[in-house]
């Protein structure tokens, strides 16, 4: 059990123009599952490797339970890590792979055996203990990698994209399995991924990174509903949030977001904070699921309609995605609507949008307004 504090962490590789990790700070509470999420190359794995002690720190500190461990070697940090490639020792049996870390730590033979057997039971590896890694399936290897971390009973688990080598179906079951294990064991965990679904479903909190910097930290639904900037808005959600050029105007005492030919009245509770942006260009963000073919019953007050033409229909079975071109707007927008729609390519209709769900961003700073 441990509290991890990362403070003003920087990593600069020699010869690189920009730092790989730039002023990253966050705290992971005891027993918390923190997900580092970001596109490839955003520095999230480097942060993980610096916490692990596998990568020298350029500046800043990593502390475990308040003790700065910058100069503590990896082997003395009491951290276990699950690698993307699983990193199973190919010349050792599953049993020896699990026991390898314990043997070095002067754990008694009987205790090693007990822990290996219990982890094998927990992960369904009991029948595979004599096999070599090359004789295992991807999912089994993944479980051995996880088992190797569990038997160590460390202060902290680090996961570096552990599911990305699995096929889609196995990824879902393994993901659920991992969530269950983590709840059972309760060890503080930091999990690196570029998969937003993993981040949303697994993390107690999500730390979103871009270009070496932390962009936003929060509970998964919180960052989804209140993205701090346009990057987070686009990165979370599939299909991503629609971002449209618009303008804030006052008409008849109300604040409107003008989108092409249409104007959407913004909720009154936000008006005061929008005052300084009135008369200026803004970026209007709308999630595809907040666009409706027909207005849902009961939320009429904040509903607005925009005339649109259907450019593409993508029936996915469970739902249908529409690509729409809004009148007077250069950008196309995506709408996620019910599977029973009768709309066809070329049809014109008034798409309904819930103004309460609109996000506004400053086009220059890309930060969220409100």
């Amino acid at each position: 059990m441990a509290v991890i504090t990362v403070y003003k962490l920087c990593k600069r590789y020699s010869g690189a123009s920009a730092p790989a990790v730039d002023d990253v700070s966050f705290t992971v509470a005891d027993r918390e599952f923190m997900v580092l999420l970001g596109p490839s190359g955003c520095g999230k794995s480097t942060v993980l490797r610096m916490i692990a002690g596998l990568e020298p720190i350029t500046s800043g500190t990593v502390a475990i339970d308040g003790r700065v461990v910058n100069d503590v070697p990896a082997k003395a940090r009491d951290i276990a890590m699950v690698f993307q490639s699983y990193a199973l020792y190919p010349h050792m049996s599953v049993h020896d792979n699990l026991a390898f870390g314990l043997r070095r730590r002067d754990v008694a033979g009987a205790e090693i055996e007990r822990r290996v057997q219990s982890a094998a039971q927990m992960l369904g590896l009991a029948d595979l203990l004599d096999r070599k890694p090359h004789a295992l399936s991807g999912g089994q290897r993944q479980r051995v990698a996880l088992g190797r971390a569990i038997v160590r009973d460390p202060k902290l688990f680090l996961f570096d994209e552990p599911l990305s080598n699995l096929d889609a179906a196995l990824r879902v079951t393994t993901r659920n399995e991992l969530i269950r294990q983590q709840h059972e064991i309760g060890t503080t965990s930091i999990y690196v991924t570029h998969d937003q679904v993993e981040a949303m479903t697994m993390g107690d909190r999500v730390c979103i990174m871009n270009e070496g910097k932390v962009v936003q930290i929060g509970a998964p639904l919180e960052v989804y509903r209140q993205p701090a900037d346009m990057f987070v808005a686009r990165f979370l959600g599939s299909p991503p949030m629609n971002l449209l050029k618009g303008r804030l105007e006052i008409r008849e005492g109300r604040t409107f977001a003008v989108l092409g030919g249409a104007a959407v009245a913004l909720p009154q509770r936000t008006e005061s904070s929008l005052a300084m942006h009135v008369g200026r260009d803004v970026i209007v963000g709308v999630r595809p699921e907040d666009l409706y073919e027909v207005a849902p019953p009961g939320e009429l007050a904040s509903m607005a309609t925009l005339p649109a033409r259907v450019t593409t229909v993508e029936p996915l079975g469970g739902e249908t995605l529409l690509v729409l071109s809004l009148d007077g707007c250069s950008e196309e927008v995506m709408a996620r609507i019910g599977r029973h729609t009768a709309l066809r390519r070329g049809d014109r209709f008034d798409v309904t949008l819930d103004a309460a769900t609109i996000h506004l961003f400053d086009p220059a700073a890309t930060k969220a307004i409100v």
Binding site: R49, L54, A80, Y89, P90
Partner: protein
């Protein structure tokens, strides 16, 4: 049916077989060129020199098995064999340990000057041995190692580390970095990681260098002939040369000596070839 097709007997027999013909001819020719002389020496090793001069290509009749006993007992052959064994086994062991450690460091760590160290070691590959021999002679003389097996062992180690590092570094560099990181997280020191991760995983490559070095050093002549002069210090290649003295040419005994000399090489290859081939075909270490 499938086998027939694989062998080239299928829907288009004429054309496919014609296409294979040059390949088969080449393989046959190659076998004759390499295997023929060996077979010839093998038959000669069982015949007396007089018989050989009478009919060079004849089959052994009667078969003189006793020549092997004579070669071993009536000349210094047992001493030469023992000398060769000591020199080659110790030299190969040292080359393997030093070479694999150097290769591990060069493949894993990027320290200041690592490029220069690599260049320095690998430049040993391009130096012809003839170039070194006078200097080595002088150095060994000054260090009282001239005419000693220790001196020859040291020379063999020094001259064969370069190729060993070259082969092993290429293989070790392909071992995924994650394995080393995992071992570090598991609490192992750099030296332990070398022994417990690099060496077992790199075993096919290590066996390759052991076999290559063994064969090359077992047959090494130039350094041995210059650096050893006393008869009881000689290694096998020098010993075999001894059968062809200035006033006699015992071709039959030379052949017998050669056949005894290749036994260890064949044994080494028989024991390691499976691992080597397994290592080459398995490819991925993941």
């Amino acid at each position: 049916m499938q086998l027939a097709r694989q062998l080239g007997f299928g829907q288009m027999p004429g054309f496919e077989q014609l296409r294979r013909l040059p390949l088969v001819l080449f393989a046959a020719l190659y076998t004759v060129i390499t295997g023929g002389p060996l077979l010839w020496v093998a038959t000669m090793s069982l015949r007396t020199t007089a018989e050989i001069f009478k009919s060079p290509y004849g089959f052994p009749s009667p078969v003189h098995w006793e020549k092997f006993v004579d070669a071993w007992t009536k000349s210094n052959y047992a001493t030469y064999f023992w000398n060769s064994t000591i020199v080659v086994v110790i030299a190969v062991a040292l080359v393997t340990v030093i070479g694999s450690m150097a290769a591990h460091c060069l493949a894993r760590y990027h320290f200041r000057g690592s490029r220069s160290v690599r260049f320095l070691i690998l430049s040993g590959l391009i130096l012809p041995p003839q170039l070194l021999i006078l200097a080595l002679f002088q150095i060994l003389l000054e260090m009282n190692l001239y005419n000693t097996l220790t001196g020859l062992i040291l020379v063999y180690v020094a001259t064969h580390v370069a190729m060993t590092v070259y082969i092993l570094e290429g293989f070790f560099a392909q071992i995924p970095q994650d394995l080393f990181d995992a071992a570090r997280m598991d609490g192992y020191s750099d030296f332990e990681i070398f022994w417990r991760v690099t060496v077992p995983i790199g075993m096919p490559a290590i066996f390759t260098t052991v076999t290559l070095n063994f064969i090359i050093l077992w047959n090494e002549f130039l350094f041995a002939v210059v650096l050893l002069t006393e008869d009881d210090k000689r290694t096998l290649p020098l010993g075999i040369m001894h059968f062809t003295g200035s006033h006699q040419l015992d071709v039959g005994m030379v052949a017998t000596g050669v056949m005894i000399a290749i036994v260890p090489v064949i044994l080494i290859y028989a024991f390691t070839s499976e691992t080597i081939i397994k290592g080459m075909t398995a490819g991925a270490v993941r």
